[in-house]
């Protein structure tokens, strides 16, 4: 009997910008249906990692397999086909300013799944309801929404095409703690409903503990620890301990420019 490959498998992923090495041989496995959260300080390489996986930045070397297929070796059209099964919630939601909320939510369905525009609005209202937004929001422009509502619309857009792999980039950044908890609960609920695999990056420990099955810590472009979310406060890893405590004492030296 062959073992089922992980949903996402990363091996030896490297990325440098000029002389600055950002990712230095990342190895990571994400099991299908699980929720992994990558934690790490500012500048540790989290965002570059997620952008490399999504194909927004070209990796220098390494392997990224989704469902056992190396996406780095795929032609562009094949890669676009893979992306159709991926959802992404950006840090600032990244809603399209020029489109109303309903068109933002159904953008992928209209563009790639050929959903008729007359049906798209009704579909968008259904999806908005799943993230706790009423139909009155559908015709607003993104600029008319609060930060929390923008995140919800971003989440609605990310899950609209029923993806089986969803990425969350700092889902609670810029939100108050209550709204952050609400967004986290929505993420957990929607990922479970879809039966999807979730890959998140954050430096918000409360958020990480709410949405993660597994936590990995990245520091200076390397994964320095990976384990179950329940073990994060007793990891025994000095990097994780310092990060969880939010202490300035420890192996992580933050650059402070005065």
């Amino acid at each position: 009997m062959t073992e089922r490959p992980p949903k996402l498998r990363i091996r030896g992923l490297c990325k440098a910008f000029g002389q600055k090495v950002v990712l230095e041989g990342i190895d990571l496995d994400v099991a299908a249906g699980s929720s992994i959260v990558v934690i790490g300080g500012s500048g540790s390489g989290k965002s570059v990692l997620i952008k490399c996986i999504l194909g927004l930045i070209e990796a220098d070397s390494g392997v990224i397999e989704i469902d056992g297929r190396n996406v780095l070796a795929m032609p562009r059209r094949e890669r676009e086909a893979v992306n159709e099964h991926i959802g992404m919630l950006f840090q600032g939601a990244a809603l399209f300013d020029s489109l109303p909320v309903w068109e933002n939510v159904c953008f992928g369905l209209i563009a790639k799944r050929r959903l008729a525009r007359r049906d798209a609005r009704a579909r968008a209202v259904e999806i908005l309801a799943q993230v706790g937004l009423g139909p009155e929001v559908a015709d607003l422009s993104p600029a008319e929404l609060s930060g929390g509502m923008q995140k919800r619309v971003g989440l609605a857009r990310a899950i609209a095409a029923r993806p089986d792999l969803v990425f969350f980039d700092e889902p609670t950044t810029g939100l108050d703690p209550i709204m952050g908890a609400i967004i986290d609960a929505l993420i957990v609920e929607q990922v479970e409903r879809l039966g999807a695999t979730a890959f998140s990056i954050t430096h918000d420990m409360a958020s990480a503990q709410r949405i993660a099955d597994t936590v990995a810590m990245i520091h200076k472009g390397r994964i320095v620890w990976q384990g179950p979310a329940s073990a994060i406060r007793n990891s025994g890893n000095p990097y994780v301990d310092q990060f969880v405590r939010g202490s300035t004492e420890g192996p992580i030296k933050m650059e402070v420019r005065r």
């Binding site: 999504l54 927004l56 992306n83 840090q91 600032g92 990244a94 809603l95 399209f96 953008f107 563009a111």
Partner: protein
């Protein structure tokens, strides 16, 4: 000796930077042209851009053209009066407007209005991750953002120049007839007498090239902007300045191609 070497080094680095930037623009343009001819196409976005670039630029282009025609008539009359050649005013106005002022002034006005708007919009989309969001939604940003703007500007600017030509000549006519007291029929006859098809056609070719250049520089600068609001501001300035300079450069090149003997 060291100072001279430093100076040469600085000049070399500057030249290298300019050539490198020019190369990036050319590659961007080639990539955009490649995307122009392969599906998917976005006719709804193209129509929206044609309205934005063409219809909403009409007032500024019309006002510029009409006053330029009026000034040209007045200036050429006072100049030609010195050697009793007032009769050439109508011809000078119509040739200047159709060959040069119509396309160049419309181009510069649209560069200020549309080049800046394109760079600001695409630049903001870049720094707020909206362009990355397009990619994750399996939509090619070059096809979705760049191609409709390039095609719309290239098609619409000649139409704007036709309007500018008509209004510019009309401006000259108004000053010629109502202020300088030319006979209206004689003025119109002198206007058409020496006007050739290639005078108008060269202006329209210039307009199409200027439209392409304006949209290209706006898209290029916006697409590569970084660093938040400051970066978007710089992209906007660069788009307008580079498009304006390129308009003047291409104006000479196309004039040379059409009229050099």
């Amino acid at each position: 000796m060291q100072a001279a070497l430093n100076l040469l080094g600085g000049i070399g680095a500057g030249l290298f930077a300019v050539l490198s930037a020019a190369g990036r623009v050319v590659l961007f343009a080639l990539s955009a042209l490649g995307h122009c001819v392969s599906p998917p196409f976005y006719p709804r976005l193209l129509a929206r851009q044609m309205i934005e670039i063409g219809y909403f630029s009409l007032p500024v282009v019309a006002l510029t053209a009409i006053f330029s025609g009026m000034v040209l008539a007045l200036q050429s009359y006072t100049g030609f009066a010195r050697f009793s050649a007032e009769g050439a005013v109508a011809t000078v106005v119509v040739l200047s407007i159709t060959r040069e002022l119509g396309p160049v002034l419309a181009g510069l006005m649209v560069a200020g209005r549309i080049g800046a708007a394109i760079a600001a919009e695409i630049g903001t989309m870049r720094v707020t991750d909206q362009i990355d969001a397009l990619t994750t939604l399996s939509t090619n940003p070059m096809k979705y953002l760049v191609v409709p703007r390039l095609v719309a500007a290239t098609v619409v600017l000649p139409l704007l120049v036709i309007v500018a030509d008509i209004l510019g000549v009309m401006g000259g006519f108004i000053v010629g007839v109502f202020k300088l007291e030319f006979n209206p029929g004689a003025y119109m006859q002198r206007s058409w007498e020496y006007l050739k098809f290639e005078d108008v056609f060269s202006g329209l070719v210039k307009a199409a090239v200027f439209g392409f250049v304006i949209a290209l520089m706006g898209c290029f600068q916006g697409y590569h902007s970084k660093g938040g609001a400051q970066g978007v501001g710089a992209a906007t300035t660069n788009a307008v300045v580079s498009a304006s300079i390129l308009i003047l450069v291409f104006n000479y090149v196309i004039t040379e191609l059409f009229f050099a003997r």
